[in-house]
Amino acid sequence: MTDVTAAPASPARKTTSLYEVSARTRRRNAAEKRFRFYGLSAVLLGLMALIVLLSSILSQGMPAFRQTYVVMDVELRADKLDKNGNRDPADMAKLTTFAVAPLIKQATQTVATELGSDIEGLTDKMVGAMISKEAPGQLLRFVRANPELIGTTQSFEFLANGRIDGYFKGRVTHESAEMDNNISVQQLDLADAMVAEGMMETRFNWAFLTAPDASDQRPEAAGLGVAILGSLYMMMVVLCLALPIGVASSIYLEEFAPQNWLTDIIEVNISNLAAVPSIVFGILGLAIFINFAHLPQSAPIVGGLVLTLMTLPTIIISTRAALKSVPPSIADAALGLGASKMQTVFHHILPLAMPGILTGAIIGLAQALGETAPLLLIGMVAFVREYPAAPPEGLFDPATALPVQVYNWTQRSDPAFFERASGAIIVLLVFLVLMNTLAIILRRRFERRW
């Protein structure tokens, strides 16, 4: 009885209304909003990271696609190039860069007296240093190819030195030049004068995509030719090995394998291999393909084999998914008409699963193209200037690969190589985008939903 009378008498109990939000509800709603905000900011953070990553690489790398050239007239003096006067190719082959260097020096001195007379403290040495160390080699190749032009004056396009090139891309300024031993303010002034005269220009750099690597002293001449070729060879090996082996293995596991311990072991193995760190595959390549099988170091064949083993799990997993997505009614129909199991698989299931299989293979290939760590261990970091021969012999020649070339350039001291490395990344990313677009198109166009 006391309960009934006591209850309304309690002053502690506050009446609440649904129309007015209590403190607790407000707190809970605020917590809800906060939580939602955390989630949204996490998504935005991830997207921002992507944008910052790509824009930093793009802004650093785009200058690599432009290159400054110096146009100058060089007199091909017969007394330096052909002392015997008989234009004999055998004699030409004996010429060294020391023989042609004076010609270039003479040409640069002419330029300096024409344009640099009012620049204080400009020495001949400074003028000569504005041209890439690659120039004598270029001149020599020209002379060997055209011995009949000796004695005439020809116009040449030489690469500008990396620092001069950097000046036109904003990497080198007058302030930084004062502290740099490799470049002087006078050289920059002369460069400006040469641009005004049309003797120096910056334009698209095709050589970056086709030329081989260059030594530490001449970043302006370094190109990706050998690396692109090496990557292409490796991708060929991967495609020729990983696709058939992966498809065969998936067909067996998906369509034929009995449910026993052996099949289980294979399946566990494949999922584990997919998660093994890539560097471990490099150790495998070094120990088995190079030390045991005595395949040559730095060869695309070894890189291709290692990448094949790495890509196999990816291809197997996606191929199995593609095979699984073909409805069983098709297999049943084929079997019902008297086809053998093998005929069913090869005549009906496999063709229908092909778009999915190819999509998976391209994605696996794209993964392999960007892989670096295992290639470092099998000696693909070597400095390679010769293009590998055409396959199949070329597969055994030394080469580098695109991502390894990037790593290689970042290890050099000249900052111009960082620009090249970022440029190489752009090339790599363009290839990856192309491959992934192809995969998406394949999926959109040909994949059937049942």
């Binding site: 991830g46 990553l53 293995s249 150790i283 470092l376 990856l432």
Partner: protein, 401 residues
């Protein structure tokens, strides 16, 4: 390469086998499929495949035998003769047996089956090759260097004149420290992103944001490495390390960890996203029915239900972080150190595997062989994490199916 030529000859012989087998079948049957057991092309395939497989088998066995007996080179002629003899024998036998009742299709299917089984066994062979190649060289290493000093040594100072300290602990510490920072970045961001995309985001945002986040996973690690080297490293040094007096090195644990964290965001987010979506809607509805807000439902119901899967995803990300190479090679530095300062350069197991195995290497010295011991340690750690993750995810799956 004589091997290439031998292979080409073998292929030619097999094609010839197909043509001759097919021809003989045509002549035996008089051009009619009906009188034969198998369709006519099968007879061709039977001869061709048998020739090819027999030749390949002999070639592989002979090459392996030669390698195991330790004969490095020479004797290519014997190998070629053996191979071609094997191929020709198979050619002759299968070709001679073509007749009306001959079950050529069964033979072809058996051979294809053998090929399929061989292809599947490459996965096992790879694993065996991985383990053996590392065990073999690691055993050589432990023959020259006491294992207690390797596993418990706190000083890493390789010296190519010999007498070096090869203690693994500083490397392991660097690896774990970098991975820890990476997970500190990737787990909150990835998890919250997954929750937002799965529970809050509308279909439009989801359709845009999810693939874009997954692009992060498709970018090669060398790109992240370069990003760490030329962008993140200098920024961290100038903004944090130098003003705080913590170091002057652009390559540091924090640099590598931060960039690796960005790389791991999509791993955590897409795996967690799948797992959160797999939690039955009925559980959410029950919680809403009791008056919980959406965030309370997520915190009290969805996350606990998805926890085993999320832990599995985090473990997979951790194994990825521990095995990652290029980001740490370019971002973390090369000095082996046991230190707590995140702005100091430290080094990891993978960096040292690369540095000990590139350049001029001498496969007799412990300084080179230590890379194999490091490799197998790395392999065991990542394998352990993967298996653990797999077990956790598998146990979880059974609960809701």
């Amino acid at each position: 390469m004589p091997g290439t030529w031998l292979f080409l000859i073998l292929v030619t012989l097999s094609v010839l086998g197909y043509i001759m087998g097919h021809r003989k079948a045509v002549s035996v049957s008089g051009g009619s499929n009906r009188v034969m057991h198998s369709l006519l092309p099968y007879h061709g395939w039977n001869v061709g495949l048998a020739t090819f497989l027999a030749g390949l088998f002999v070639m592989v066995v002979a090459a392996l035998g030669r390698a195991l007996m330790g004969v490095a080179d020479g004797n290519n002629i014997a190998l070629s003769v053996l191979t071609l003899a094997g191929a020709c024998a198979a050619f002759y036998v299968t070709h001679a047996r073509i007749e009306r009742g001959y079950r050529a299709r069964d033979g072809v299917e058996k051979m294809i089956r053998v090929i399929l089984i061989l292809a599947s066994s490459i996965a096992i062979l790879t694993t065996i090759g991985l383990v053996l190649s590392m065990l073999f060289e690691a055993r050589n290493f432990f023959g020259q260097y006491p294992w207690t000093r390797f596993f418990f040594g706190t000083n890493w100072a390789p010296n190519f004149r010999g007498d070096s300290d090869l203690g693994m602990l500083p490397l392991l510490w660097g690896t774990l420290y970098v991975s820890f920072i990476a997970l500190m970045v990737a787990v909150p961001v990835g998890l919250f992103a997954a929750i937002y995309l799965a529970e809050y985001a509308g279909p439009k945002l989801r359709a845009v944001a999810k693939p874009l986040l997954e692009v992060l996973a498709g970018i090669p690690t060398i790109v992240y490495g370069l990003f760490a080297l030329i962008t993140v490293g200098p920024i961290l040094r100038d903004v944090f390390a130098i003003p705080m007096g913590l170091g002057e090195s652009a390559s540091s644990v924090a640099t590598a960890g931060l960039v690796m964290g960005i790389m791991l965001i999509p791993f955590v987010s897409s795996l967690s996203d799948d797992i959160i979506n797999a939690v039955p809607q009925a559980m959410r509805d029950g919680s809403f029915g009791l008056g919980a807000t959406k965030s309370e439902t997520i915190k009290k119901v969805v996350i606990p239900a998805a926890l085993p899967g999320i832990v599995g995803a985090i473990l997979l990300a951790a194994s990825r972080a521990i095995g990652e190479t290029m980001i740490v090679v370019m971002g973390a530095g090369a000095a082996a150190r046991l230190s707590l300062n995140p702005f100091e350069a430290m080094t990891t197991v993978t960096v040292k595997i690369v540095s000990q195995l590139t350049g001029d290497t001498d496969f007799a010295s412990p300084e080179t062989l230590v890379a194999f011991a490091l490799g197998i340690t790395l392999f065991v750690i990542t394998l352990g994490l993967n298996v653990l993750a797999l077990i956790i995810v598998r146990t979880y799956r059974e609960q809701y199916e």
